[in-house]
């Protein structure tokens, strides 16, 4: 084992498995036997009824954990044994705390999967083994615990081992071992058990001490740019941590996504001038040209480049309390870049028990699926298998800012590299010039019966009279044609709005002033449309009419039918309307006439320079 002693890198170990399999007890026992529990801490572990030491109290550091006797969140413990340094991430076994378990798994090198010898592999074993596999941990130790409770019976251990071998093969663990242990009594933890002479393999500690820290990247030089360091002397350094490969002064690099090639003039690693640097080092690079580079870009080796694109396939572990809905707009963080993202399709959901693929339209909390993603701007990435630092991603909910998913990139969608935006001879500006005004989108949102269509129609009539080229889109006209295939479930309503946004965008390209009239009850969807457009083109108009007034008006008799329960998912009655908080224009219909509302909108367009009110109609642009 001497060859491992020189390896001073810390091995990070994940412990996982079902509730009450004894994860915390196992780690507590290991630390205790290694003399790694200070006396004053040890004193705190024996204050329960029995005299015996309760090792689990060492790790269950939160008050609710000690009260309920369960592990809620991952605990990190640091110890030194057999000349190695270790970090143990002790994770919770309860299904509802998967997001805490995956937090521990994402940074671990090796996983200890515990099972209770009396129960064998359970559904939670399968789930955790699957997550371990997704996170790219290839080295797994199955600890068959509580072997004392089955009289140290070899057959029990062999049966569980046989079952686990099948699972390990299915999940492509490259390296796996099975050990019979008793965490409570200490058998095969750090000392060999005298009660299981049939077991000839290593103890748990021997196994850990002999494990190497795996490399998590196979790609050439990659460095996501964190920030630009500007010194007083006018110098400009590109700061970041090297994700893979190495770099030396004089080497050529390519900056992505721009594709600009430059070379390295100076390198400093953790503030020290060096000639070369490699993976994991935090460096500042001085480049030989003054090229445009910013946070979110990636510096890479020109001969071994990562993918650049906005469409790819990823495996997603959904952690959010709210269900994942395709089409909805979220934020994605990968490397050092944060961009808008939408999950366009769920290819399949994975049954964690059988690994079978199932058709799915949504992912609920803790479900795992393979999905197509599209980002609002190009990403620079590798597949997770090639480079974990370049292929891992998180998804963030725009409204709550919670991290709602972990994802790993499987591969780019080839479409993203083959379909390029067409080269245009006639530009958007050229089309607008011909019309004599600039394009804009008025997006009217509000409850059914709020007066959106009335105001949109009257505004279009006024604009038309002024010589402004317009088009009016609403739910009825789209649902009669392009959206014929959509119903009224939440997922379909999101798609309805997405298509309305895309159609509007084409109309804007054509140079028109577009009026859209959609209930569009969800803030996230309105934001998705907003982000499709240029910032100065999108004008959100909140037609604010109290619900009581809308019910009273009820022009189509829909509210009555919704209240009677005849229509389901009706906004304001059985589905929420999220009021806009940052609308550019709010029209309170109780305070304005229709003409007054039209005046407001026309004035807003003029204020933005879409056209000029003082000049000749239709010639305002000149």
């Amino acid at each position: 084992m001497s060859k491992f002693l020189a390896d001073q890198r810390v091995l990070t170990i994940l412990t996982c498995g079902s509730v009450d399999d004894g994860k915390s007890t196992l780690i507590g026992r290991l630390l205790y036997e290694q003399g790694q529990i200070p006396e004053d801490e040890l004193a705190g572990l024996t204050n329960r009824a029995e005299e015996a030491i309760d090792y689990s109290l060492l790790l269950d550091g939160l008050e609710p954990e000690r009260e309920q006797g369960i592990t809620i969140d991952v605990a990190y413990r640091y110890f030194k044994a057999a000349d190695r340094h270790f970090i143990v991430a002790d994770t919770p076994g309860h299904e509802q705390y998967v997001r805490n378990m995956i937090t521990g798994a994402s940074n671990s090198d090796l996983a200890i999967l515990l099972v209770d010898a009396r129960n064998g592999l359970t559904s939670q074993t399968f789930r955790h083994a699957h997550i371990v596999s997704i996170m790219g941990i290839r080295h797994v130790v199955l600890a068959v615990n509580k072997i004392d409770l089955v009289n140290f019976d070899e057959r029990v251990f062999q049966n569980i081992s046989t079952e686990f071998r099948k699972l390990a093969e299915l999940l492509s663990f490259s390296d796996f071992e099975m050990i019979p242990v008793s965490a409570l009594l200490g058998d095969n933890v750090s000392t060999r058990s005298s009660r299981m002479t049939w077991y000839e393999g290593p103890t748990l500690l021997q196994l850990l001490a002999g494990s190497e820290v795996p490399e998590k990247a196979r790609t050439g030089f990659r460095m996501p740019v964190q920030l630009i360091v500007r010194s007083d002397g006018g110098g400009r350094g590109v700061a970041g941590t090297i994700a893979s490969g190495q770099i030396a002064i004089g080497d050529k690099i390519v900056l992505l996504p721009s594709g600009r090639v430059t070379s390295i003039k100076e390198i400093s690693s953790a503030g020290r001038a060096v000639g070369r640097a490699e993976a994991r080092e935090a460096v500042t690079l001085t480049l030989s040209d003054h090229v445009d580079v910013a946070r979110g870009d990636v510096a890479a080796s020109p001969s071994d480049q990562p993918h650049v694109g906005s469409q790819f396939v990823a495996q997603i572990v959904w952690l959010g309390d709210e269900t994942l809905r395709p089409g909805r707009s979220y934020l994605l963080k990968q490397g050092t870049r944060t961009v808008g993202v939408s999950i366009t399709a769920i290819k399949y959901r994975v049954d964690v028990q059988t690994m079978a693929h199932e058709a799915a339209k949504e992912l609920r909390t803790n479900e795992i699926g393979v999905c197509n993603l599209i980002t609002a701007a190009p990403l620079v990435f590798d597949s997770y298998a090639e480079n974990a630092a370049m292929g891992g991603l998180i998804v963030i909910d725009r409204a709550t800012n919670m991290t709602v998913a972990a994802g790993i990139v499987l591969h780019p969608l080839t479409r993203s590299t083959t379909i390029r935006p067409p080269t245009l001879f006639v530009t958007k500006d050229a089309r607008a010039h011909l019309k004599g005004h600039r394009p804009a989108l008025l997006w009217l949102t509000g409850l059914s019966g709020a007066g959106k269509s009335t105001i949109a129609n009257a505004t279009e009539a006024r604009l038309n009279a002024m010589g402004v080229h317009t088009i009016l889109l609403d739910g009825d006209c789209l649902r009669g044609g392009i959206n014929k295939d959509l119903g009224f479930t939440e997922t379909d309503r999101i798609e309805n709005i997405r298509r309305a946004g895309e159609v509007s965008k084409l109309m804007l390209d054509a140079g028109l002033v577009v009026l859209c009239s959609f209930i569009s009850p969800f803030a996230a969807d309105r934001r998705m449309v907003r982000e499709l457009m240029r910032r100065d083109e999108f004008i959100e108009v909140f037609v604010d009419t109290p619900l009581e007034t809308c019910i009273e008006r009820d022009p189509k008799g829909l509210y009555r039918r919704a209240i009677d329960g005849e229509i389901k998912n009706f906004t304001g009655i059985s589905q929420v309307y999220e009021r806009p908080e940052h609308a550019e224009v709010t029209i309170r219909t109780g305070e304005l006439t229709v003409d007054g509302a039209v005046d407001r909108l026309v004035a807003e367009l003029a204020r933005r320079g879409i056209f000029d009110l003082s000049g000749e109609p239709g010639r305002g642009h000149e």
Partner: protein, 300 residues
């Protein structure tokens, strides 16, 4: 002394975290408590942005009861390094004469540290605070994320922490919320010492053994740093060879008997210590979940 790959990895990880904080937040600040961890954090921050100046201010929450030597060290460090240091004192607590002697350790800590920190962060509009806390210090810290989210009012909800995947830190905040960031999360006490030795980082000499005037109370050695510490009947300060493993308010920080006068001796002693680092912190002992409670209320 050359650094091994373990220290180099820890150093690079901390620099990455500090840079992410600066890149992602509007107005970050670094908490500076004058202790050894703060000294290491400061040294890492300088490396992260060299040759440019530190892109944030430093904040020291002064309770008025720190060791005199700490304050001298703080002012000297700020002057020599040209730091933009804010020293904040809870004026309201000062007016109410809150002290560890008359008010007790828990009221003193609540008013002069926890409340003072919240006031200082609010007053300056800091949206992220970098601190030198480590997970190996204490059980509830062992559970905390590197980017630790605080709701408005600076409250920590340990039951509902954000997932933290890989090194992809979610730094997004809603109005009124803030973040505490711990670049030294994965360092141990021994790592800190070995790094101080390898990089020759200046620290307060209270960490090294010297003859100091102490009184023994309930088995704890309290240094008589000035005449504000009332002596009990029969108490007489004795000169003893002592040093400190952690530094806080002097009446609340116990010394340990030690002959470790050099960093090599300190490292040797730390490696073979039978008790934990925070054992000398009286404020941790109020009850079993003491640190967690204080953290939930906004303590660092």
């Amino acid at each position: 002394m050359a650094m091994n790959s373990r220290l180099r990895d820890l150093e690079a990880e901390a620099i990455f975290i500090i840079r992410e904080t600066v890149a992602e937040f509007r107005n970050p600040v670094m908490l500076y408590s004058i202790g050894k961890d703060s000294s290491v954090l400061l040294s890492l921050a300088v490396k992260a942005f060299a040759p440019a100046k530190l892109p944030f201010r430093l904040l020291h929450i002064d309770t008025g009861w720190k060791f005199r030597e700490m304050i001298e060290f703080r002012d000297r460090t700020a002057r020599d390094m040209g730091l933009d240091l804010v020293v904040y004192v809870n004026q309201d607590g000062l007016k109410r004469n809150i002290s560890p002697v008359s008010s007790g350790s828990s009221v003193h800590t609540q008013v002069m540290k926890t409340e003072a920190l919240r006031q200082a962060l609010d007053e300056h509009g800091f949206d992220a605070a970098l601190g030198g806390a480590r997970r190996d210090e204490e059980k509830s810290r062992a559970k905390e994320r590197i980017f630790s989210h605080r709701s408005s009012g600076h409250l920590w909800d340990p039951r509902n922490q954000r997932p933290e995947l890989w090194r992809l830190f979610n730094a997004r905040l809603n109005p009124g919320e803030s973040m505490r960031v711990f670049p030294l999360s994965n360092w141990t006490e021994l790592d800190v010492w070995e790094y101080i030795r390898a990089e020759n980082i200046p620290i307060v000499s209270l960490y090294f053994s010297a003859l100091r005037p102490v009184v023994e109370r309930d088995g704890r050695l309290i240094m008589v740093d000035d005449d504000r510490l009332p002596l009990l009947a029969g108490e007489q300060p004795q000169m003893e060879w002592v040093r400190f493993r952690t530094l806080g308010c002097y009446p609340l920080t116990a010394a340990v008997r030690s002959n470790a006068k050099t960093i090599d001796e300190v490292i040797e002693e730390t490696g073979s210590a039978a008790v934990s680092e925070r054992q000398g912190r009286l404020i941790d002992k109020d009850d079993a979940s003491s640190m967690e409670k204080k953290k939930r209320e906004g303590y660092f």
